[in-house]
């Protein structure tokens, strides 16, 4: 659901791994950690923004951070969301840039 929410908020493709055919900008969404204490799950998410320019990456990262409070409305299972952490991860060999947004969720995964 984080992948879908990211794609919706930024209006760019989002997947759980870099798509070979994808045109930048696109997002790669991964779970980067967080404990599970059933029925609660506290995942830490990493959203990498693969962009053509540094400025584009920065703009998308701030756009995602600003929209983050609304993720609690994306699915009933999401109870709460923490603050966004923004990092510029560097540049790619072909001149692209990657920005990363990390955040924690508190969710209920009751069957």
């Amino acid at each position: 659901m984080v992948r879908e929410w990211t794609a919706s908020v930024l209006s760019i493709p989002a997947a759980t791994y870099p798509q070979a055919s994808a045109q930048r900008p696109y997002a790669v969404v991964n779970r980067a950690g967080g404990p599970v204490d059933y029925p609660h799950d506290y995942p830490r998410y990493s959203v990498q923004l693969w962009c053509d320019t540094d400025a584009q990456g920065e703009t998308l990262a701030y756009q995602l951070a600003k929209a983050l409070p609304s993720i609690t409305e994306a699915h009933e299972r999401i109870n709460a969301v923490g603050n966004a952490e923004l990092t510029q991860l560097g540049y790619l060999e072909d001149g692209g840039f990657i920005w990363q947004v990390n955040f924690d969720l508190a969710t209920n995964i009751r069957d």
Binding site: P39, T72, E76, N79, A80, A106, T107, N108, R110
Partner: protein, 194 residues
């Protein structure tokens, strides 16, 4: 009852990106009878609450009556207090009116030279009591605290720091309603019947 992890619930705020989880209205406003139905428009919606969440403290002061052998033969209730505490980290006119009374808060519309100005006149007086509802969720489960008649007061210090939000610490002393009750706890387990 057998242990059941799915009945371990948390108290996350049931709020959207635009509507907060703390609500208040005039004393006498009809309280919700379930934990899920949206509140009608007469309820004012509050803003962001700090990550410390909301705390309900219930104290039942008792006195023991011993008999001749000094064993307790009866315990009597001496006093009861219910208090809800939390901190608003959002500063807005509605919140300040609730905390200090509407007559002490003046809002001047923005002009070409200044933004909207909120002026609060603070003195030795209490704001009117209000009814409060706290909306909480855990997945598809819902929890509500409803206070029919609560006296808001500022609790503690107002700290101004460069790296912290201005935090309005609120204490609500829970008074009784016509039925002699001070606090209502509503829980919807989210398991609907067919």
């Amino acid at each position: 009852m057998a242990i059941d992890a799915t009945n371990v619930i948390v108290g996350a705020p049931d709020q959207s990106a635009t509507v907060g989880a703390v609500n208040w209205a005039a004393v006498g406003t009809t309280l919700p009878t379930d934990a899920r139905t949206a509140l009608p428009s007469e309820w004012t919606k509050g803003g962001y609450v700090s990550s410390d969440g909301v705390t309900l403290s219930i104290e039942q002061g008792t006195t023991s009556i011993p008999d001749w052998s000094l064993g307790t033969v009866r315990t009597l209730l001496e006093d009861f207090t219910g208090t809800v505490t939390f901190s608003f980290i959002q500063t807005d006119a509605d919140t300040l009116k609730m905390l200090f009374g509407a007559s002490n808060v003046t809002v001047t519309a923005a002009t070409s030279t200044a933004g909207e100005i909120i002026k609060v006149a603070i003195g030795p007086e209490l704001a009117p009591s209000q009814a409060f509802v706290f909306n909480m969720k855990d997945g598809n489960q819902r929890v509500r605290l409803a206070l029919p008649n609560a006296q808001p007061t500022i609790d503690g210090e107002l700290v101004f720091r460069a790296n912290e939000p201005i935090s309005w610490s609120v204490s609500l002393d829970c008074g009784q309603d016509a039925n002699g009750k001070c606090i209502y706890f509503l829980y919807d387990d989210g398991a609907v019947s067919a």
